[in-house]
């Protein structure tokens, strides 16, 4: 009997060792996180963060050089001069120096969940949403300033306005926090989970956001009151992406393909049209020219502000993320296609594509 127990114990110990050695990393399906600033382009995808050459689309480097199977990146990097801040699925949040060969300045390791949303920064304070239901506020020297806990994973990019941190919650809420200590100022309940990041309009001092509850709302930032709620008379679908505010209009899209312009003041509809397919990615504004729409099936179209389609292109794969606009290009991330990133100029001409080397 003792022998049997000894053998069982050895099996369990062996299993433990084997498990520690054979771990194959997190299992999750997600989309490339693209961020651009100045002449820098970063793409977070699977085991790497890539820095792309804006002229050629070739990877200048990748981080880490040698992949760690447990380290998976999907959150877009926050670009801050010579550094980027990016979180991974190994529950780590990193500050990486990106001048020359990338080097890790510090790693914040206190989270227990994945980093999926892009972090936000204001002064010395970095706000990082995490799947462990916490928002982490960290200073630039890697000191934890505060945490705020909720019931659901935080997956969208927070918004920092003056002394407030405003963040969408899957708990059917928009949460307003005190930037100094993370205490809750207020929570505004919506009809469905809020996946899209909120957008701020200084003119009305309001937050605009849509939810999976087939609604789009304006929330007064000071009072937390829902000033108006738009549901298109019951025809609006779920809203997965953040809106754009341009020329006195708030423009957003829903999953069914509708693109809708509202008056930020009153919530009254200016116009709407259907882009012709399922769209989960948001609208990307090209200042002074118009906006880009990316459908799930890979159709990328550019519309001027008079809603005329100027050009339309098709990329291989499915698009779920809002295209990123740089000074000269539109970057479209796709999955299950020939390439991971497609770059177009503002006339719709393909500039380059990027596909990570195996």
């Amino acid at each position: 009997m003792t022998k049997k127990y000894l053998r069982s114990l050895l099996i369990v110990l062996f299993a433990g060792l084997l498990l520690a050695g054979c771990a194959m990393g997190p299992r999750a399906e997600s989309t490339p996180g693209i961020s651009a600033g100045g002449d820098q382009i970063f793409v977070s995808y699977m085991n790497y963060v890539f820095k792309l050459d804006p002229a050629t689309g070739k990877a200048a480097w990748r981080f880490p050089e040698k992949s760690n199977i447990k380290q998976v990146f999907y959150a877009p990097a926050l670009i801050d001069g010579d550094s980027i801040y990016v979180g991974d699925f190994a529950n780590d949040f990193l500050k990486i120096n990106v001048t020359g060969t990338p080097s890790v300045d510090w790693t914040f390791t206190e989270a227990k969940g994945w980093y999926q949303g892009k972090a936000a920064k204001d002064g010395d304070l970095i706000i990082a949403p995490n799947s462990d239901r916490n928002i982490y506020a960290i200073d630039v020297n890697n000191n934890l300033v505060w945490t705020h806990r909720n019931r659901f994973a935080y997956i969208s990019e927070p918004l920092i306005i003056d002394d407030m941190v405003i963040v969408s919650s899957q708990d059917h809420k928009v949460v307003f926090l005190n930037k100094q200590d993370g205490t809750t100022i207020r929570e505004v309940a919506l009809n469905g989970a809020v996946i899209a990041a909120p957008v701020y309009d200084a003119q009305t001092d309001s937050i605009f956001v849509g939810s999976l509850g087939n609604e789009f709302v304006r929330i007064d930032r000071q009072s937390g009151e829902i000033v108006w709620r738009y549901d298109g008379g019951g025809t609006l679908g779920s809203v997965w992406a953040k809106p754009i505010i341009v020329d006195g209009q708030v423009i957003f899209n829903d999953k069914t393909g509708k693109i809708i312009s509202l008056s930020p003041e009153t919530g009254l509809e200016n116009w709407q049209f259907n882009a012709g397919g399922s769209q989960l990615a948001g609208l990307a504004l090209i200042e002074g020219k118009g906006f880009v729409v990316a459908l799930e099936d890979g159709t990328v179209s550019f519309y001027n502000m008079d809603r005329q389609a100027i050009w339309s292109r098709s990329v291989s794969g499915n698009v779920y993320n809002t295209p990123v606009v740089t000074e000269t290009m539109i970057l479209v991330g796709a999955i299950k296609g020939d390439n991971l990133v497609y770059a177009f100029d503002f006339q719709g001409q393909p500039v380059w594509t990027f596909k990570p080397e195996k």
Binding site: M1, S8, V12, S30, S131, N191, I195, S238
Partner: protein, 297 residues
């Protein structure tokens, strides 16, 4: 087709249970038990078929036949087929119920994975398969917290800064128990079969442990409940020899009604009398003694 017929209904039932009990972890437990109950007739048939085969293979008639035709494989196969036909058993009869259960088990696994959408992309995919009457936009996402676990991520219980994979340990232990319950003790003399059984008994828990360690806690929870339900089903049929799992328990399962009645050979004269050797094999030392040449002094 697969999604529409299997994964989608399973996912929706799981979500309905979640809405009823307001807890996804409890819903996984109840859903797993429910599926196991629904597939119990198949499990029972599998157990009975397997028992019938075991009884047949241990019967004097079968052993005599094997001994008689041990040098004529073709004839042996022919005689085996005859006896299978005569008694209405088949070595594959326990496989069919198992094969029928496979799609259900895979569907159950996939529905749990789908419902635990952890990324926006997974949430989009989940939203698309939820039936409209459940109002997906209102009920999603599912609250993944259960006890100390986030069911959408691999489970670790943090104790003094060390993440202990409690659920993985439970999966390994429950799989050890389940494999011991399901695999009959190997017969003396059948070393190859015994080695295979032992190897299976060791690799299965390890494999399940590796999966539980890496995949979401929700899936590991399903593994544990599924294993325990299987053990309970075997116990309910009186097929569990608890002394194989807990050696300090001396009780053996009650002798149950034989799964098949094996008649004697119709004409005994046809078979040469077989001397059944005593079960106790000579020890290795004794055998060695017999073959060791005498050394000259």
């Amino acid at each position: 087709m697969w999604d529409t017929l299997i994964v989608q209904p399973f996912t929706n039932v799981l979500l309905m249970i979640t809405m009823l009990v307001k807890n996804f972890g409890v819903a996984i437990i109840l859903f797993t038990i429910l599926i196991k109950l629904v597939t119990f007739p198949l499990t029972a048939k599998q157990i009975k078929s397997s028992q019938a085969m075991q009884e047949l293979q241990k019967s004097p008639r079968y052993l005599k036949m094997q001994e008689k035709y041990k040098d004529n494989k073709e004839k042996l196969a022919e005689e085996q087929m005859k006896i299978y036909k005569e008694l209405g058993v088949s070595p594959f009869s326990s496989c069919l119920p198992m094969l029928l259960q496979f799609p259900i088990i895979i569907g159950l696994y996939q529905s749990i994975m789908r419902a635990m959408a952890s990324t926006p992309l997974e949430l989009i995919k989940l939203e698309r398969i939820v039936y409209p009457f459940l109002d997906p936009n209102k009920i999603l996402p599912i609250q993944n917290r259960f006890l100390w676990m986030d069911l959408g991520q691999p489970e670790r219980l943090m104790i003094a800064g060390i993440g202990i994979p409690v659920l993985t340990i439970l999966v390994v232990l429950s799989t050890i128990i389940q494999t011991r319950v399901m695999t009959p003790p190997s017969e003396a003399g059948n070393d190859q079969a015994a080695a295979m059984t032992n190897s299976m008994n060791m690799t299965m828990p390890l494999m399940m442990g590796v999966l539980a360690y890496q995949f979401s806690a929700g899936l590991a929870l399903y593994f544990v409940i599924s294993n325990l339900t299987t053990v309970a089903q075997y116990a309910a049929m009186g097929k569990t020899d608890w002394s194989r799992i807990f050696p300090w328990i001396k009780t053996k399962p009650k002798p149950s009604k034989p799964a098949i009645v094996i008649p004697d050979l119709p004409d005994e004269e046809e078979v040469a009398p077989v001397v059944v050797e005593k079960v106790n094999k000579p020890s290795a030392r004794a055998s060695a003694k017999r073959v060791r040449p005498k050394m000259k002094k």
